[in-house]
Symmetry: C2
Subunit: 303 residues, 2 copies
């Protein structure tokens, strides 16, 4: 048995903001990523490797807010965060404030496997990635015309655009997987918020906030009002609710999202247990999402 869930961000995703063609492009991209990931899981790839590969594909896709197509800071730069965590042994790695790494999630996996540290950031992580032979890209690769327009619109309104706020379409990406060995893993990657302050670290870089995995509880990837997910330690909270309070997967995820709402945030989560049980939920208007399992049953949805 194996299973894969992915998301491409949650927020004020309104049907009337998208043409039929855009909707079908998003759905096609999500389905292609599911097909690729499930093929990998069927070939006995580990959940860790699959979430990293799947999130890499989403980073490469300019439709989503991670890697290529990341949203812009208030001074027009790309600053990217990513994290990965393994449910088998709790090993984890993350990067923050990366500006030139093509696939931040791959560097997060390298931090996990090759360093004694858990989170590396800033200019140093770009220099280290380059020295280690990771593919680097320049501003022209990452920045799309759509993101320039979104920043201009946000600045005109003087507002920091939370994920999918109003017309914003900033799609943090993530994946949770269960492999044939019974292990779960989670990965998340983001360009953050349109018009965010330079230097802002998101929940996607923080294990226990936007990303978490433990075989005894759940694999978890979040999207939404990241600053509240940091404050609430939402990923670890879902774990604690299941292990300490014996809540079910859906109860834990619903409670975590409700706590985000209480603090003025919103967003969505995808979650998966080692027994194959899964749950996707959001308290925003929509969430780009999909899931597929070893029976080849699949679903892709936005609203």
């Amino acid at each position: 048995m194996f299973k894969l869930l992915i998301h491409g961000g949650a927020g004020a995703v309104r049907r009337d903001h998208y043409s039929n063609q855009e909707i079908s492009e998003y759905k096609k991209s999500l389905k292609e990523v599911l097909d690729f990931g499930v093929e990998q899981l069927a070939h006995e790839q580990s959940a860790e490797d699959v979430v990293v590969k799947v999130v890499s594909l989403l980073e490469d896709n300019p439709l989503f807010n991670s890697g290529r197509g990341s949203v812009l800071t208030s001074d027009g730069r790309v600053q990217m965060d990513a994290a990965v965590m393994c449910g088998q042994d709790g090993s984890c790695g993350a990067v923050t404030l990366a500006e030139s790494i093509k696939n931040p999630v791959q560097m997060a996996q390298w931090v996990m496997r090759k360093t004694p540290h858990r989170l590396l950031g800033g200019r140093d992580v770009d220099l280290l990635a380059k020295a280690q032979g990771f593919q680097m890209e320049d501003v022209d690769y990452f920045v799309t015309e759509k993101r320039r327009e979104q920043l201009a619109a946000a600045k005109a309104k003087g507002a920091i655009q939370l994920d999918h706020d109003s017309e914003d379409h900033s799609q943090t990406v993530g994946a949770v997987a269960l492999d044939v060995f019974g292990n779960v893993a989670a990965a998340t990657s983001t360009g953050g918020l349109t018009n965010k302050m330079p230097g802002r670290v998101s929940d996607s870089a923080i294990v226990g906030a936007g990303t978490f995995a433990d075989n005894q509880s759940l694999a978890f990837s979040a999207t939404g009002t990241g600053d509240v997910f940091i404050q609430n330690m939402s990923g670890f909270d879902a774990h604690a609710l299941m292990v300490y309070s014996k809540k079910s997967l859906s109860e834990a995820c619903d409670e975590v999202l409700e706590k985000v709402k209480v603090r003025g945030g919103r967003g969505g989560v995808i979650a998966l247990r080692a027994n194959g049980e899964s749950y996707m939920a959001f308290n925003s208007l929509g969430m780009f999402r999909g899931q597929m399992d070893s029976e080849m049953k699949w679903e892709v949805a936005i609203f």
Copy 2:
């Protein structure tokens, strides 16, 4: 009723590494900081302001590993982290990878109070602090001869020095306070690990890892093997153990330290409840620590 606990780091602090004069210097510094903080609490200052002021004093003291006297990265630089959290409403702020801010904990408080974000880092946080009028310092201010020697010794051994590892004396600092209004707060500040990789973010910058505060559970500041405290989300875990599993303050802190040990780490915590109950514990050889309350009962200890 009010109360203040402080720490100046936990680790392999061996009595025979210190002269009698050094011991009395450390104890004198800790007592002066307690006196100052308790005076502030007696004058009805908030727990939030007191932990920030107290940690600022420890940052200014080159005996400890934060602000002036921070340990050095493998390439000989100072990169500082700090966080603050309020138990009343869960508001929090943090900075990471600061290289020029005299008092990183004061910038963490600014992030909390003046921005929509929770964690700012890298070169951008230095630029922002400067633009906001915070006192900035250059390398000569932060780097002491003792830290240069410690880096040279660590590099000669090819080892990353965890807090207080063997001859290392790298003293992360922190404070937890209860004010006369019944609110608790926590703050932590550090230069990290001697010979750490450039760009490494410590648990001191991550709310829920090395710093946590909630009036319904505890105020918490940790020191030790930071990468494990990040992985374990130790601060939030202590909170969850108390709220969800109904563990006592000491049971929660002991369990959190035991989990750090299971993953190969060690360290210490100071913790305080809104009812005035407090606890200090460490599974390393020693922890620089002190506490003082509204009855003017006080204690300063290292081993």
